[in-house]
């Protein structure tokens, strides 16, 4: 039987894993800040119109 070997996954060194974690953390923080920024900017753009909507 002609079996194809499973593709091997590259194993990260401890240092590389540490750096990868730092990148992931930073990306998470940036994304979180973006969510907050978009929310605040939306409220600022809406201004008083927030209260003028039909109930």
């Amino acid at each position: 039987m002609n079996e194809q070997p499973y593709p091997t996954v590259a194993k990260l060194s401890p240092e590389a894993l540490q750096r990868q974690k730092s990148r992931s953390k930073a990306l998470g923080i940036v994304l979180g800040c973006l969510v907050i920024l978009f929310f605040i900017v939306t409220i600022a753009k809406l201004g008083g119109n927030v209260y003028n909507r039909a109930m």
Partner: protein, 325 residues
């Protein structure tokens, strides 16, 4: 070359591909791709441009606009590093940048730069107006395509014309508030535009061998040190009145006129001093002195403009009234 992964096997195509395709650096390396020191100048000059608009803007929208302009500028710096990664690796000054040092993969830098470019332009357009967003997009295009891909590798006048990209931020800041631009903000553009050649050529004089090795036709490489020193002096003489122009056109006070005039004379003197020193340690020190002073010069002039815009906005009478009986 540093690899993010441990090699699995000599004939593993996955192992061969993982190194060049995957970044190995920290978040700080990605931050460095944005040229943070250039971003500081962009933030500062865009803020001055915004304040000279004399129109009210929601502080949150103002802050977010400055952030969008800064990220747009950072994105263009990132794309500049992506395109010039090979020559950056040949020069001492730039060899430690994230891509040539192996911390960030070239493809990831490109994706990072493009994402930030598109994101910053869309964000600025959505929160302010599409004129400002279009101008930011044009600035990124001008810096990456016109300067980095074309002028830098083609002509000794590269940083003269390319300097426009670094001079646009005050106009974008003004446009974000008003949706148009005026003479005052054009004068601010002109100040940075005329300031760029003596600032950059002073550094290029010290790094001539670097640029020659990388094949970049900077003025000292193409025309030599004597001609570069002459051009630096000419641009410095031009810069002095241009630096004073906001006051000459009635947009700044007599105090600014005296301050910018005095500092302009210092720049002319340093350029003259550099023109007399051609070799050795004295020439090197004179070039660094002009380079360092030019940074302080531009920050000081824009700071003076900022102070003149902000101080009248402060309700001094109300503030003092709280402390007086």
């Amino acid at each position: 070359m540093s690899l993010a992964t441990e090699p699995l096997a000599a004939d593993s195509s996955l192992a061969r591909a993982a190194g060049p395709l995957a970044s190995n650096g920290t978040a700080r390396d990605f931050y460095e791709l944005l040229k943070p020191r250039v971003m500081q100048l962009v933030i500062f000059t865009a803020l001055v441009g915004m304040l000279t608009a004399h129109q009210s803007i929601n502080p949150i929208i103002g802050f977010a606009s400055i952030l969008a302009i800064a990220i747009g500028a950072g994105a263009s710096g990132c794309l500049n590093m992506w395109y010039d990664a090979t020559i950056d690796g040949l020069m001492d000054r730039t060899s430690k940048r994230p891509i040539p040092s192996g911390a960030v993969a070239r493809g990831e830098a490109f994706a990072f730069g493009m994402t930030l470019s598109v994101g910053s332009v869309l964000f600025l357009g959505l929160i302010t107006n599409w004129y400002a967003a279009g101008f930011l997009a044009f600035t990124i295009f001008f810096y990456v395509v016109v300067y980095t891909m074309w002028l830098k590798h083609w002509t000794a006048q590269n940083i003269v014309i390319g300097g426009a990209a670094g001079a646009f931020p005050p106009m974008i800041g003004y446009m974000a508030v008003t949706g148009s631009f005026n003479i005052e903000t054009f004068l601010q553009f002109l100040m940075i535009f005329i300031w760029t050649p003596p600032h950059f050529w002073a550094l290029a004089l010290v790094k001539t061998k670097d640029y020659a090795r990388a094949g970049v036709p900077m003025l000292p490489v193409v025309a030599g040190g004597v001609e570069t020193r002459r051009q630096i002096l000419i641009y410095s003489v031009l810069l002095a009145p241009v630096g004073m122009s906001p006051a000459l056109f009635g947009y700044a006070s007599p105090f600014y006129l005296v301050f910018s005039g005095g500092f302009g004379l210092v720049m002319v003197w340093l350029a003259y001093d550099l023109s007399r020193k051609h070799e050795g340690d004295a020439a090197r020190k004179a070039a660094y002195r002009l380079f360092g002073t030019s940074i302080i010069y531009l920050f000081a002039l824009f700071a003076a403009l900022l102070v003149e815009e902000v101080v009248p906005m402060i309700p001094w009478a109300n503030l003092w009234g709280r402390f007086l009986p």
